[in-house]
């Protein structure tokens, strides 16, 4: 009992009067009930977008990469921008589940499940781009180091693009395992409550025979820790490796040593923004306001503000170095980035990523839900433009002015991007319907320390003097 003491100064993580049963009922309600009209509308729109994306990719594969707006100077544009953007978004989930777990941040329990799901879906979306952007997608397997009769001929281990393949696939695998192992107790709960045979069977298979025995719980905890340990360096490595696609090149604007930390900060920034966007909508529609509280939203807004500021410093240091180095390539690249034909992309990036997150210094705005929703969208627009600025605005005015060029997206460019939104939301809608969007078991774990009604009971303890309390602890039997 005393072990579960948490100061009342800390905001409760679960609002309202809840017991374990009520938690289960609240969270599995959407799974057991019939989905609303909004859910159907959302799913249909998502699937329509997905189909459009598939058609755009079909078009590109059939007629060639030339249907995109890329050209002789700008070899990468929307596809790689979208790739980096989605991978960045995919950072929040694992950060929340792994790093915050290691740091014992209790508030992660309300958001980790949805954030992890989002990570997996975002990485799935991201993965589409490197695959389909190659000129000969039917030969894309050349990139894997498989045994062959050509020597054997290995891929070029010097190439950051190859590191990318390994980094992203590893990250995806670990994130998936982490997410799924966390789901096991919850899936078993749904199985146990199931009223139809089919449901019982499917959730039974999915829960891997979880019985809730102490041994299961013990192993589950151990696995969580191990995976958290594995995932933590990955959170930092994936985007570092992605950034090396650019940092190891000779193109001014790409060839920058600050890229790894700058990219990781940006990734967390955009990832948390996406979590905000999704959860603010989810908590409203699924009536989970008591589990995803204002406190959660505020905590994430603080992270957004921090990482946004890091990103801002990175932007400014890039500018400083461009000036201080005196190098014409670097100076020219940044001059044209700000004052060239794509100046507006730079302005959008600066406004959305550097200026706007600073409003979160105000507590009122941090706890304002509609405002946070708006800001989360603004941040992700900004972060998309950041990647676009880095990729296209570095290539469009590089070393030889004779090759300076411009990029205008064509419909298959747009279609592919829109299609990944379709993929993402299709997955998310199905997830919200068939999986518990909040980790039931983990909420129960913190309920008695951080639940509002349980915290109410703490007043009696807090009323005691320190000496009395110390004595009680010393004589407690446990």
């Amino acid at each position: 009992m005393l072990l579960k003491y948490e100061s009342t100064v800390r905001e409760p993580l679960v609002d309202g009067v809840k017991d374990y049963h009520q938690v289960t009922v609240d969270i599995v309600r959407p799974i057991e009930g019939k989905p609303g009209k909004l859910w159907y509308a959302g799913l249909i729109i998502s699937i329509a977008l997905l189909i459009f994306g598939v058609f755009s990719v079909y078009w590109e594969v059939y007629y060639g990469i030339g249907v995109w707006g890329v050209n002789k100077s700008i070899g990468w544009a929307w596809a790689i921008t979208n790739f980096v953007w989605w991978v960045g978004i995919g950072h929040a989930g694992t950060l929340i589940s792994a790093i915050l777990l290691l740091f014992r941040q209790g508030w992660r329990t309300g958001v980790n499940r949805a954030a992890e799901a989002m990570t997996i879906f975002a990485v799935m979306c991201a993965g589409q781009f490197p695959i389909w952007h190659v000129g000969r997608v039917w030969d894309v397997f050349f990139i894997f180091p498989y045994p062959n009769t050509r020597g054997p001929l290995w891929p070029n281990f010097n190439s950051p693009l190859l590191w990318d393949v390994f980094a992203v696939s590893t990250y995806f695998t670990v994130s998936l395992l982490f997410w799924y192992s966390g789901l096991l107790p919850d899936l078993a709960t749904i199985r146990d409550r199931a009223k139809t045979k089919l449901r019982k069977f499917l959730y039974g298979v999915a829960s891997f025979g979880w019985t809730g025995s102490t041994k299961h719980w013990q192993r589950h905890e151990a696995l969580s820790l191990v995976l958290a340990g594995l995932a933590t360096p990955l959170v930092l490595s994936v985007h570092s490796v992605v950034s090396m696609d650019f940092a190891t090149s000779v193109i001014p604007g790409w060839h920058t040593t600050i890229f790894p930390p700058y990219f990781v900060a940006g990734a967390i920034f955009s990832g948390f923004a996406m979590v905000q966007t999704l959860l603010i909508v989810t908590r409203k529609i699924l009536h989970l306001e008591e589990y995803i509280t204002l406190g959660h939203i505020e905590a994430m807004n603080k992270i957004i503000m921090l990482t946004g500021s890091i990103v801002g410093v990175a932007y400014l240091s890039e500018l400083f170095v461009a000036w201080y180095s005196g190098a014409y390539g670097e100076g020219g690249a940044f001059w044209w980035r700000i004052l060239g034909p794509y100046w507006w992309a730079y302005v959008i990036m600066m406004t959305c990523n550097v200026v706007s997150p600073q409003v979160f210094w105000f507590k009122k705005l941090r706890r304002n839900v509609p405002f946070t929703l708006l800001m989360s969208v603004v941040v992700n627009i900004g972060m998309w433009f950041e990647r676009f600025v880095i990729i296209v605005l570095s290539l469009y005015h590089d070393w030889l002015p004779s090759s300076w060029s411009y990029f205008s997206p064509q419909w298959p460019d747009i279609g592919f991007y829109v299609g990944t939104f379709g993929l993402f939301f299709t997955c998310y809608f199905l997830f919200a319907k068939y999986f518990p969007v909040i980790a039931i078991a983990e909420i129960k774990h913190v309920l008695k320390t951080s639940g509002e009604n349980f915290k109410g009971k703490m007043h009696t303890i807090e009323a005691k003097t320190n000496e009395a309390f110390a004595e009680e602890v010393a004589h407690a039997h446990h």
Partner: protein, 1049 residues
């Protein structure tokens, strides 16, 4: 006696009867004959079954055999000695078209010409070529060429045609209208034809006329001829609107001479000085040391001003009435040019591109004062490049109209397109009862003629040429005629009723009679064979230069010029010829259409060039924000009361009140669409029809001069507010002062030859003592190849004139794809070798520099280490190689190439894809994939499929060839044996290529000694194997515009 018995087994011996029975009964088991009754009594008994079976097999066989294409691959029964599959054969020949001349070597593979090389035995061109010459091999395989003779628009036979035409010819009133003909034997045949049909008139008409020069020379020297020019002997060149490096008379020859006089080195620190006065920006003007712009109406002021300034310096009588130039710059320029000319008397040359007789007389007068005759102008060997007389053409059209012309034969001319009053010509042609066209397309003129008697392509023909008096050249076919065409010479001989109508026999006979006595010695056959092998027959020692007595009345010429020059109507317009498409003859050549114009860098169109100042007035300003948008404003232009719409291209260096537009476009008519466009594409060609606008109707006739005028004093230009897509390959004009271009002046170079190297070493010295080894984190040995072959190239920016012959040579050699206009506009062009053109300084008077840019074959190549599948790698000979099979098309290499020379196969340009029907729907691209057109492909070079990267290979197939040859002879490769296509094509020999490890090689010498050496972006430690030589301009150091690299931040 018991019979002797042999038994085969114990059964036979023991039970004879039983055995015999068993033997008789072969099938011992019961046969299932019980069922056979039912079998035989079925409704389809055995015989029917066999019938059906037989029918089905036959039917199936017939049906299946219909589907199978019969492909023939017939091996030689008796292999010709000289043909080995896979080994090219080379035949010396000549390109002589419309008076343009270039001695060539045809490279044939398996019996088909695939590449044109310059003939190094010619003293005229020294092995140089032009883009048009390089591109001419593609026109051989033009699918829209006429394939048979036609009468009244229907196919006929040559015999029938001969018969019909013979009838018409007998009626008299015959006129033969031709372009300039260089062939002496054809000229003789024409004379014989005229003798056979007395009263026949021969009219020569050039699409873009040089009659003013011919008339002026007649007035000045009593010869209606053109002299040989020798730019190599000129210390000072003043060109008044003559684009002698791009299009004027004989640009390949002149470029070679110019290159010689412009090559500057530490040992020979001298070069010619070049002044250019012009209205628009020509290729030649771009290369000038000093360039001044004036309006066409100010031409008298410039010419008279220069005359008087030179006369004044030399103490000769001046001309009266000379108007002062309106601009101080031009006035100063005239003074400066005159001073320079006078200072180099005897080594000075003034040329003018004007077609005005009086202007040319005055130019002759200046040259005469300067003593150019016999030094830079040689009258002993007049040239035959242009022979057209404009007044004759005017007369012809009038005669046709009046009905006095009964039969018109048109050869090498297309007046229904390029005559300024084409409609009048077309109407007049209707009054001619019989007309024959020898043109190779059903073009504007041929369409109107009663008979079409298509000539062979020149690569299918026997022929000869006499470009200069006493300089002969032979033309031999590289392939048997593809179609049922007949050589003009043969047709003419047949119609003349000659006993021998075989062109080869006729030419041989001509040579035996006329040329063998001059240059031959010994046996005729031996000499002929040798001449055929050499391709040229020239005097052993060049004849001494000769002069001609100048006898024109310059005062009269000046007075006439002044009185006949129309007053300026504000904005004036200049019509010029483009380096690629020319007069329109080459319009259906996709290579030339897609070749970026050397100055404007625009493809697939003609357009209105305007100055930045005028752009402001027309609200068509191109600035750093919109330069990347190729949807350019469309202007409405009214000249001589005729209005046309032309897209605007803002070109620095244009005179603020002059606009310019190229002729040669709008083949088949302006504003074609629908069925008319389809028909024109079929008849004239898919790359010609509907491309650009025909502005020949704006040309006018100047009665005083008796010549056509290629400018107009008034052009009403307005911005329509509409836009038009221009396929421009380079959007940014400035090199932003970056050290990618290094230049100096001759004076500085002479005084401080080490300065250029000093600058360079200072920059590279920041990274360590030995930049190559110290400025990298890698092990230095990785990049060094001190042993064996290490290929390297050097490009001299001083002698590169930007003519783009190399671009087309590269395209022909390496099967570089044509992508069509819309794809060029999207930055998808495929040229492996591009020429970057930069302007610097004042937009009104910019300094221009050309920089050929191809794969630099970096020893520390940024593209190589980023490829995830190792599809681009480095050879131990220093080549950056592309392995197409391995490439998956990530385009990472393209991004990381600081020179941006890698080209991606965005679409299925070559039909090499397994996806059906995904070819780009551009008519030119489709044309390039016709099986006939594909015969031009070089079998030694892989045709690239969609989705792979490609780039310059240093012509690796040629290097391998040279290496194999050397290996067979058991010796190292000698310098000059391995030549890249660009190097071979260059008329100024600006490109040197060879083995850097070979101490005897030219490129080694350049690397070791040349003080102008530098590498583009070498500070990135890419270690490029292509190096450049800084540009030297022969101008005063204070006039050189130089800026530091931009770093505004």
């Amino acid at each position: 006696m018991k019979q002797k018995k042999y038994w085969k087994g114990l059964e036979e011996l023991q039970d004879e009867a039983g055995y015999e029975k068993a033997m008789y009964n072969e099938f011992r088991e019961e046969l299932p004959l019980g069922e056979s009754d039912a079998f035989l009594s079925t409704t389809t008994p055995r015989r029917d079954f066999l019938k059906y079976l037989g029918f089905s097999i036959t039917a199936a066989t017939v049906a299946a055999s219909c589907e199978i294409k019969v492909r023939k691959a017939i091996p030689y029964l008796n292999k010709p000695e000289e043909i080995t599959p896979g080994i090219p054969n080379y035949y010396a020949s000549s390109y002589a078209l419309d008076g343009d001349y270039c001695p060539i070597v045809i490279k044939t593979r398996d019996g088909r010409p695939i590449k044109i090389e310059g003939n190094t035995l010619s003293s005229i061109t020294g092995g140089g070529t032009s883009a048009r010459v390089q591109g001419s091999v593609l026109s051989l395989y033009d699918t829209t060429r006429l394939r048979y003779p036609m009468a009244d628009g229907k196919e006929t036979t040559w015999a029938a045609l001969d018969k019909q035409v013979a009838g018409s010819l007998a009626g008299g009133g015959v006129v033969l209208l031709t372009g300039s003909i260089l062939s002496p034997s054809v000229k003789q045949a024409i004379n014989e034809f005229i003798a056979r049909y007395p009263g026949t008139r021969h009219v020569v008409n050039d699409s873009v006329s040089y009659a003013g020069m011919l008339m002026a020379n007649e007035a000045s020297y009593g010869k209606r001829a053109l002299p040989s020019y020798h730019f190599e002997n000129a210390k000072c060149i003043v060109s008044i609107g003559a684009d002698f490096l791009g299009t004027w008379l004989s640009p390949v020859e002149f470029a070679g001479q110019y290159g010689k006089a412009r090559a500057v080195s530490g040992e020979n620190p001298s070069m010619s000085q070049h002044f250019q006065f012009e209205g628009h920006v020509s290729l030649t003007g771009s290369n000038a040391d000093y360039r001044y712009t004036h309006k066409p109406s100010e031409l008298p002021a410039v010419v008279l001003g220069l005359y008087n300034a030179v006369a004044q310096t030399l103490g000769r009588p001046a001309l009266s009435g000379a108007p002062a130039p309106t601009s101080k710059r031009v006035a100063d320029g005239i003074k400066k040019a005159a001073k320079a000319l006078a200072a180099s008397q005897g080594a000075a040359l003034v040329v003018s591109g004007s077609n005005n007789t009086q202007v040319q007389i005055l130019v002759n007068g200046i040259n005469d004062m300067l003593g150019a005759g016999g030094k830079t102008i040689d009258w002993n060997t007049p040239v035959n490049y242009r022979q057209g007389v404009d007044a004759d053409m005017q007369q012809l059209v009038n005669d046709m109209q009046s009905g006095s012309v009964k039969t018109l034969l048109v050869y090498g001319a297309n007046p229904a397109y390029d005559y300024y009053e084409a409609d009048k010509f077309a109407a007049a042609l209707k009054k001619v009862p019989a007309s024959v066209s020898f043109n190779d397309h059903l073009d504007e003129t041929t369409r109107l003629c009663k008979y079409a008697a298509p000539d062979h392509h020149y690569l299918e023909s026997w022929g000869d040429a006499e470009p200069k008096t006493g300089y002969y050249s032979l033309q031999q076919p590289g392939i048997a005629p593809l179609f049922k065409t007949r050589q003009f010479l043969e047709t003419l001989l047949k119609w003349s009723g000659a006993a021998e109508s075989d062109p080869l026999a006729y030419i041989q006979n001509y040579w035996k009679t006329n040329i063998f006595p001059q240059y031959g010695n010994g046996d005729w056959q031996t000499w002929w064979d040798q001449s055929l092998q050499d391709g040229v027959a020239e005097p052993k020692t060049a004849p001494a230069f000769g002069t001609a007595a100048f006898a024109a009345d310059v005062n009269d010429a000046a007075a006439k010029l002044l009185s006949a020059t129309p007053k300026s109507g504000g904005v004036e317009i200049v019509f010029y010829e483009k380096v690629g498409v020319g007069t329109g003859r080459h319009a259906n050549n996709p290579w030339l259409q897609e070749m970026p114009d050397p100055v404007s860098k625009c493809t697939w169109d003609n357009y209105l060039c305007i100055s930045p100042a005028m752009a402001e007035k027309l609200h068509a300003v191109v600035n750093r924000f919109n330069e990347v948008d190729f949807h350019r404003p469309l202007a409405s232009v009214k000249v001589n009361g005729k209005e046309l719409k032309l897209p605007i291209l803002v070109l620095p260096g244009m005179h603020p009140e002059v606009v310019a537009v190229a002729v040669g476009y709008g083949r088949g008519g302006n504003g074609l669409n629908g069925d008319a466009l389809k028909t024109a594409r079929r008849n004239i060609g898919p790359s010609a029809a509907g491309v650009g606008t025909n502005v020949y109707p704006w040309v006018s006739y100047n009665a005083t001069s008796g010549t056509f005028e290629y400018s107009a004093p008034k052009a009403e230009v307005s911005n329509t507010g509409e836009t038009y897509l221009l396929a421009i390959t380079q959007s940014h004009n400035s090199f932003e002062g970056r050290p990618i271009i290094r230049e100096t002046t001759l004076k500085d170079f002479i005084e401080h030859p080490e300065e250029l190297q000093h600058e360079r070493k200072e920059e590279l010295g920041k990274y360590g003592e030995n930049f190559r080894d110290d400025a990298t984190l890698y092990f230095p040995d990785v990049f060094n190849h001190p042993q064996g072959i290490h290929w390297g190239m050097s490009v001299d920016l001083s002698t590169c004139i930007g003519c783009s012959a190399c671009t087309i040579a590269c395209q022909a050699e390496n099967n570089v794809s044509v992508v069509g206009k819309s794809e060029v506009a999207r930055g998808h062009e495929m040229h492996w070798l591009r020429i970057d053109r930069y302007f610097a300084g004042d937009p009104e008077d910019p300094q221009v520099v050309f920089q050929p840019m191809m794969c630099q074959h970096c020893d520390n190549a940024p593209c190589e280490n980023v490829c995830p599948v190792a599809a681009t790698s480095h050879s131990d000979e220093g080549l950056n190689q592309m392995i197409y099979n391995r490439c998956i098309g990530t385009r990472y290499c393209e991004n990381n190439c600081p020179y941006k020379v890698r080209r991606f196969n965005w679409r299925d340009w070559n039909g090499a894809d397994s996806f059906a029907d995904n070819l780009w729907d551009d008519p030119a691209t489709l044309e390039m994939n016709e099986s006939l057109t594909r015969m031009v492909l070089n079998p030694d070079v892989t045709v690239r499929g969609r989705g792979v990267m490609e780039k310059c290979t240093f012509c690796v197939q040629r290097l391998q060839d040279a290496k194999l040859q050397a290996k067979k002879e058991d010796r190292p490769v000698k310098d000059g044996e391995a030549q890249t296509a660009c190097q071979q094509a260059c008329p100024t020999h600006a490109i040197a290529f060879g083995n850097v490890n070979d101490k005897e090689s030219k490129v080694y010498e350049i690397r070791m000694k040349n003080q102008r050496l530098y590498g583009v972006l070498e500070e990135l430690h890419t270690l490029p194997n292509v190096t450049y030589l800084s540009k030297v301009r022969n101008k005063d150091p204070e006039d050189l515009f130089q800026e530091g690299p931009q770093n505004v931040l």
